[in-house]
């Protein structure tokens, strides 16, 4: 028996928008999210921060009304809830405070969002090196501002974080950018289409101007990142710039090279995935409503391909409208009619993506880093070890995993899959057969044996 009409996994913009639309349409909705509060990563903690930190910007504050939208009699939320199994047909198994629960439902909407693309280089495992998005989470959730940090990599989020740090009164020490003039040239043909996303472009230019005005040094076309620990625990961050080696000493190196969809859960459920060459990542295959090849399962938002918060909210609405239709609450015509404004938003938000994807493409050495770089942080396996395995005849993700243990640690490949793939592709050459996405299996997040045993003794069927 179903305990609700729809389970939404993820309370970011896609999940929150979908929950609101579905509940207003009369469905009973359960929202599960791993974090302690609603918002996803982009609107992380926004409900608590309301206008408290002006430096986080008005686009961030705009997320607060979405959080408010979850306050609806037909919506039940569970936070700190980690989904570790999703069964076709549909039972969602999730863990909260060390106890696992099962919720049955006819419809599941996956809105798991994205993670930062790993940016591996020698020394990226040292305390003092972390993703820029992680530092932003600390800013949003704990009022913690990075001291004298170097921002390294590329992409719109790097500029946004730099601007937020400037507004908060702790500007970055420098921006070390992997973007090359060549990438910009590749992006230019996409400009005419990007005009539909003009407001985003204007915002981006404003961020760059702010960084320039604040006098933050920028090293463009930088490569060959390397971090080493100084005796006082600070980081000597070196890179190549204009043919010279340059070293900056800093407390913190914050890296960013774009985001990639989190696909563990969709892969574990049998959803077909395709390779998005422009975004250099796998994404689930869906129709315009976010419907997948698995019956009753929708995926949308950044977890279905990177499009940003506005696109995610619009895609969440579309998925909810389609679910309302499937549930017999909306005719096909009504669904299409109600979808008009979300479709338009989605179109505008997506129009700028090809430009951004080309302008801030990950460089070859990020996708396939030098030999001494640790690729799998859990099992401490290096790029050199993976290449040696390939030289010895290993051909795919699975063989690398079984022979080297990459991806077998607690993160289950979340931090190394993309790099292992990059090394495989670089080693195989452009004409090799396509490499299938790595397998993902239940439990998609570690669960203790004790918790499993308690479930076997008598599963808690409550939602």
């Amino acid at each position: 028996m179903s305990e609700c009409d729809l389970v939404i996994i993820g309370a970011g913009p896609a999940g929150m928008a979908a929950a609101q639309t579905a509940a207003q349409g009369g469905l009973s909705v359960v929202v599960l999210d791993e974090q302690p509060r609603a918002g996803g990563q982009i609107y992380r903690n926004v409900g608590e921060n309301r206008s408290k930190h002006a430096w986080l910007g008005k686009d961030y504050s705009a997320g607060a009304h979405m959080v408010d939208g979850l306050d609806h009699p037909k919506i039940t939320t569970h936070f700190g809830a980690t989904v570790w199994r999703l069964e076709q047909g549909h039972r969602v198994v999730w863990s909260q405070n060390g106890i696992s629960h099962i919720t049955s439902t006819p419809h599941v909407f996956l809105a798991g969002g994205a993670q930062e693309r790993p940016l591996p280089f020698p020394g990226w495992t040292l305390p003092g090196v972390m993703p820029a998005g992680a530092a932003q989470i600390l800013m949003k959730t704990a009022g913690m501002l990075p001291k004298d940090a170097v921002l390294a990599g590329s992409g719109p989020l790097l500029y946004l974080i730099a601007a937020q740090m400037i507004d908060a009164g702790t500007p970055p020490k420098a921006l070390v950018e992997t973007q090359t003039p060549r990438m910009m040239l590749n992006a230019i043909p996409h400009l005419p289409r990007a005009v539909f996303g003009l407001s985003i472009m204007i915002k981006g230019l404003g961020l760059i101007r702010k960084i320039q005005r604040a006098g933050v040094p920028r090293y463009k076309s930088a490569s060959g990142f390397n971090a080493a620990a100084n005796t006082d625990g600070s980081i000597a961050f070196s890179f190549t710039h204009k043919g010279r080696n340059k070293t900056l000493n800093t407390d913190l190196v914050l890296t960013h090279q774009g985001v990639i969809p989190s696909t563990h859960i969709s892969r574990s459920t049998g959803v077909t995935h395709r390779w998005n060459a422009a975004q250099v990542a796998f994404e689930p295959t869906t129709d315009i409503w976010g419907e997948t090849n698995v019956s009753g399962l929708h995926v949308a938002g950044d977890g279905a391909g990177i499009g940003g918060a506005q696109a995610a909210a619009a895609a969440g609405q579309l998925a909810a409208l389609n679910i309302l239709h499937k549930h017999g609450r909306l005719s096909a015509d009504a669904r299409t009619q109600k979808a008009t404004s979300a479709r338009a938003t989605l179109f505008r938000a997506r129009a700028i993506r090809p430009f951004l994807d080309a302008a801030y493409a990950p460089p070859a050495e990020v996708l396939s880093p030098p030999d001494e770089t640790i690729v799998c942080r859990c099992e401490e396996k290096t790029a050199g070890e993976i290449r040696q395995g390939i030289d010895e005849g290993v051909t795919g993700h699975r063989q690398i995993k079984t022979s080297l243990r990459t991806g077998m640690g607690p993160c289950q490949g979340r931090m190394c899959d993309a790099t292992v793939r990059g090394i495989l592709i670089a080693s195989a050459g452009p004409n090799a057969d396509p490499i299938a996405p790595p397998r993902a299996r239940t439990p998609i997040k570690p669960v203790t044996l004790g918790e499993l045993a308690a479930m076997a003794a008598g599963p808690d069927q409550s939602s």
Binding site: E34, E48, G133, T170, E380
Partner: protein, 105 residues
């Protein structure tokens, strides 16, 4: 060696809680994650890998598992997914976590 925090903590009106890290008392703002509290406290590693390398919280969103610590006797706890509580007993995790029956992941 104790390394100073790599972050400045903005003053605000939140209450504080106290927990212990390897027996020493740490004061942290209420409502923040344990990983944030550890990063606010010091820039030193909060765990050591099997090979002896120091690590600390990395992704802050539950993806990387570099923030694993022992909380109230439970090893491999993701510090970024736990909210600080008064009286929490936190110990750094050095090397492989011990095998302890029901706590075994």
């Amino acid at each position: 060696m104790n390394i100073a925090s790599r972050f400045n903590v903005l003053p605000d009106d939140r209450q504080t809680v106290q927990f212990t890290l390897d027996g020493e008392i740490v004061t942290a703002k209420q409502g923040i994650s344990l990983a944030a509290a550890l990063l606010a406290q010091s820039g030193t590693a909060s765990r050591q890998t099997v090979n002896g390398a120091g690590r600390t919280a990395f992704c802050m969103m539950g993806v990387c598992f570099d923030c694993m610590v022992n909380v109230d006797g439970v090893p491999n706890t993701q510090a970024c997914m736990v909210t600080v509580r008064d009286g929490m007993r936190v110990t750094r995790q050095i090397g492989l976590r011990p095998l302890e029956g029901s706590n075994d992941v």
